[in-house]
Amino acid sequence: MKINSIDPRVNRSKIDPEKKFEEAKELDQWQTFEVFQQIKRGMHHQHVGCVHAPSPEIAFLFAKEQYARRGQCVNIWVVKSSDVFATEYEDADIFDSAPEKFHRDPSTYKVMDRIQAFKERQKS
């Protein structure tokens, strides 16, 4: 039996439709790299996704076309996923109180009333 396709590429590739598929073995795949992209000089690199690749060089080749084939980009970082140390979401409470630190909040420093009162006192 032969596949008679409308796609000439498929006909050229002479597929044997009866052939049994040999499943890929466990971990017949490359490691993953996380991709960080800088849109413009002066901006931070941003995490945009991952690629499967056997080496950082190939990860870069892949990242460039998967994440920067349209739109602006000036720089790419690729980092082995396994090298990223990430916090646990269940520990997210360690960040909870950060927005409440009044002594870091510029809007809590209100001195105009004091200056005004001082000026009034000077006048009298």
């Binding site: 000439p8 590429r9 050229r12 590739s13 490359w30 690629v51 499967h52 690749a53 056997p54 080496s55 060089e57 190939i58 080749l61 892949f62 460039k64 076309e65 998967q66 084939r69």
Partner: protein
């Protein structure tokens, strides 16, 4: 721009050759889209195919401005004997190692060619050469990294890559088949010539291949696959053109 009438014809011949190479190779490489060896490489290879076709379009546009037909007509309405591509680009995509080795040989030559053309006295071409520099640079990075990593990775990969190298090398030498107007091109500062290009190319590719654990045949032992530049092609080209133009030819006067 001070280009003589003879120079004008020489430029046309050269542009056809460059553009036809890019179109046919871009077309061939686009066949991998959706069928590549790994998703990410599928994407990268497809981008380079698009770049190549885009480069050929830029060349055909220059030709149009020099009085030739519009790019679609040039690309989609000629038969094989009117094409000036080298044999290397005509072959079907084959196995991945074949496509990869062809891409390596071709793009290394392309990078040098456009580096030379960036200083051409023919300004429209020099302009395009400067504009596409970055794209071609990526193509050569892609090719070199792959060759370097696959060349000696395993016994199988080494065998496959060496076999692909042996098959494509004589075809690759066909890139540098001299044209009829080499001297005029050189005299008028348009392009230094295929001989110079071939020398630079060989100097560039040899150490990369050797470092990757591959053997480069001695050039004197090889008969380059010539003829393409003069319209004599492998049997692969005409069927490819028929396929490529199947829809276009339903009605060439229609807007698709």
């Amino acid at each position: 721009m001070n280009i003589s009438e003879k120079g004008f014809f020489a430029i046309k011949e050269m542009l056809y050759k460059i553009a036809d190479d890019q179109l046919i190779l871009g077309h061939r490489n686009s066949e991998w889209t959706g069928l590549g060896p790994v998703l990410e490489e599928d994407i990268a290879f497809s981008s380079m195919a698009q770049d190549k076709i885009g480069h050929s379009l830029a060349m055909y546009e220059i030709l149009s401005q020099m009085g030739e037909s519009d790019p679609d007509t040039i690309a989609f309405m000629r038969n094989d004997d009117q094409f000036h591509c080298c044999h290397l680009v005509e072959y079907p995509i084959g196995e991945y190692e074949f496509s990869l080795m062809r891409h390596f040989f071709f793009d290394m030559a392309e990078a040098i060619r456009f580096e030379m053309l960036a200083n051409s006295t023919f300004e429209p071409l020099a302009m395009v050469a400067r504009k596409i520099k970055g794209e071609i640079k990526y193509h050569t990075m892609h090719a070199q990294i792959w060759i370097n990593q696959l060349g000696a990775a395993t016994e199988e990969s080494n065998l496959r890559m060496q076999k692909a190298l042996n098959e494509t090398f004589p075809l690759a030498l066909g890139i540098f088949e001299p044209g009829t107007h080499e001297e005029i091109l050189a005299e008028e500062g348009i392009f230094e010539g295929e001989k110079a290009l071939q020398d630079k190319w060989l100097q560039l590719v040899t150490p990369i291949l050797e470092k990757a654990g591959l053997q480069v045949p001695s050039i004197s032992s090889i008969t380059p696959s010539y003829g393409g530049r003069f319209g004599s092609h492998t049997p692969h080209l005409q069927p490819m053109l028929e396929e490529m133009t199947e829809v276009f030819r339903i009605d060439p006067s229609a807007e698709w």
